[in-house]
């Protein structure tokens, strides 16, 4: 869960949280008193460790002996000799590209379905939201593993249609797909946000479109999508960042190995293996920085593209 200044601040013109009158005689120190736990956290647990991990990424470090400087060797190793690293990047990119768009489409479809005056709407919305809260748990990952194992429920079900998979967990192509399905299954959170967004679209716009003879499809593309585009954008950014960091399900399904054949070796899973199984912590730090840069790059690209498809109320930008 996260948010970004530009989407959130743009809709409301700079909130004057404090009236811009003269000082009330409050001492500036009081603000820092309120902020002191947060400031301590920033210094000790965020900025400090960030700088330290940047330094460690240029070293050979195993937690127990002092780090020794190796220059760019960790980074060079990643992109040249380490096959597993490239497999991990590929598995993660495939996961993001498959799960994020389908999850958002499912979220939007169900939000449109639920966007209707009914006393049961609140109940339905909560029921669809529940998998989002449960999906990250180890318990659900175990269910997934059991359902998709050889001769499991998924196999039995597909065999009604004459399809025999022989177990998804052990098949390199299907293992990733079952994780993608688990990701899509948790579409409740973006769905709730879509639904709230749909409620803010003024009904007059739909009325005006209907008067002009627009059918359902036309109204969807010309009213709903543009009006909802800031919310679509918000969900897209959040979901992409989240999808790059999935860990639990891949760990449980492959029992920490990322198998079969590195097909579920997600980036964070490999980072964990390097850091906490091999104790190659310099390398794990370098991987963390590459992840940060990768996420920053992708987010920047999404923000760039937003100029051409995200509309903020009123003006046609």
């Amino acid at each position: 869960m996260s948010a970004r200044p530009s989407t959130l601040e743009r809709e409301r013109p700079a909130p004057p949280a404090v009236p811009s009158r003269t000082s009330y005689g409050e001492r500036p120190g009081v603000a820092y008193l309120f902020l002191s736990p947060w400031v301590a956290g920033v210094v000790l647990l965020t900025v400090g460790p960030m700088l330290a991990s940047l330094y460690l990424s240029f070293t050979d470090y195993d937690l127990f002996t002092a780090p020794s400087w190796v220059g760019f060797e960790n980074y060079a190793r990643m992109f040249t000799t380490d096959v597993h690293f490239l497999n991990a990047v590929w598995a993660t990119v495939k996961y993001v590209l498959l799960s994020v768009p389908v999850q958002l489409l499912a979220a939007l479809a169900v939000a449109l379905l639920l966007d209707r005056a009914s006393r049961l709407q609140g109940l339905y919305r909560s029921a669809f939201y529940a998998p989002s809260l449960l999906g990250a748990s180890v318990a659900v990952a175990l269910v997934w593993r059991a359902m998709f194992s050889a001769d499991g429920a998924a196999d039995r079900f597909l065999s009604f249609f004459g399809v025999r998979t022989g177990g998804w967990v052990t098949d390199p192509d299907l293992a990733l797909l079952m994780l993608v399905l688990l990701g899509i299954w948790q579409f409740g959170a973006p769905m709730v946000i879509f639904l709230a967004g749909l409620k803010q679209i003024p009904a007059e716009l739909y009325d005006a479109a209907s008067v002009d003879g627009a059918g359902w499809w036309r109204r969807f593309w010309s009213v709903t999508v543009p009006m909802l585009s800031p919310v679509i954008f918000f969900n897209l950014v959040l979901d992409t960042i989240r999808a790059f960091q999935v860990f639990n399900a891949a760990f449980i399904v492959s029992n920490g190995t990322g198998g079969p054949g590195d097909s579920t070796l997600f980036y964070t899973l490999y980072l964990w293996q390097k850091g906490f199984v091999d104790f190659d912590m310099g390398y794990a730090s370098a991987m963390a920085w590459v992840l940060l840069l990768g996420i920053a790059l992708v987010t920047t690209l999404i923000f760039r593209s937003a100029r051409s498809w995200v509309h903020y109320g009123g003006g046609d930008r």
């Binding site: 909130p15 000082s23 956290g41 909560s126 998998p131 748990s137 639904l195 919310v231 992840l291």
Partner: protein
């Protein structure tokens, strides 16, 4: 009328597909071992409480209640830390004036997006130096330093919506920021605190990565780590029953909190994305 009925049928059908895995889990936890994994249907000829009995009989070492206790300690500590420190920071950002407010607020928003992996190894080193690895401290202490910036943001949004006139009235009556916070803001900000508490509880209860890294002694394991132990056994069908029973038990607190507070969660989620 017919359109309404069709709508309900369609929604319930989609919902049925969505909730099937959960129902399957619950049904499986009551089935005798042999028939579990391969049955598609939710009903079995014979249902049994044996799986629950074998999980709860206390013969395991450590007993299962220990995992519940550990998870509760970690999640409870995280809830207290987040509610207290995030509301303090949020009040400062939303209502107080200080020179660095704009840059610090921007920085706070940026940290929401920061992948935890980038601070993971130095944090681990710090806790290792402090002798806190394999204790609950690394899981709880950061929450007392308001590191979950998302909740700071959530509460800032909430406080900004409160009428500023109340603050001003109190100020004219001679209240300083501390008393305004305690007597005016705090009572009004309760819904946001409940949202924060519930999300923190559920996310910490579900958290696997941090607990996997920091905890290792058998009697310090939390529920996710205990459940993970079943993965190794899973090739033998005999462990399916107890595994599903413990899985169901581990999800019960989440479902209870969700049932009780779903309005707060849904509202919190919707506002975080829309207002601002």
């Amino acid at each position: 009328m017919i359109r309404r009925a069709i709508w309900h049928v369609v929604v319930l059908a989609v919902l049925g597909v969505m909730l099937y895995p959960i129902l399957w889990l619950v049904a499986s936890s009551f089935k005798p071992n042999a028939s579990i994994a391969s049955s598609v249907g939710l009903w079995a000829d014979s249902l049994t409480l044996g799986n629950y009995a074998s999980v709860l009989d206390g013969a395991t070492d450590p007993p299962v209640w220990r995992y519940f206790l550990n998870s509760t300690i970690v999640a409870g500590g995280a809830v207290i830390g987040n509610v207290v420190t995030c509301s303090l920071a949020a009040y400062a950002f939303a209502r107080l004036r200080f020179r660095l407010r704009t840059p610090l607020f921007a920085f706070m928003l940026a940290t929401i997006m920061l992948p935890q992996h980038v601070v993971l190894i130095p944090q681990y080193t710090i806790f290792q130096q402090l002798g806190m690895v394999d204790s609950f401290w690394p899981l709880v202490l950061p929450k007392f330093l308001a590191t979950d910036a998302f909740f700071v943001f959530l509460m800032v949004q909430f406080i900004r919506q409160l009428p500023a006139e109340l603050d001003e009235a109190a100020r004219i009556d001679g209240c300083g920021p501390i008393r305004i916070f305690a007597h005016i803001t705090l009572p009004l900000v309760k819904p946001a605190m409940i949202t924060t508490a519930i999300f923190t509880f559920i996310w910490t209860w579900n958290d696997f990565f941090t607990q996997l890294i920091y905890l290792s002694s058998p009697d310090r394991l939390t529920l996710p780590l205990a459940l993970r132990g079943y993965v190794d056994l899973q090739e033998s069908a005999a462990s399916f029953g107890p595994m599903f029973a413990l899985s169901v038990l581990s999800l019960v607190p989440i479902l209870l909190f969700f049932a009780a507070f779903q309005r707060f969660l849904v509202q919190g989620l919707a506002t975080s994305g829309l207002k601002g």
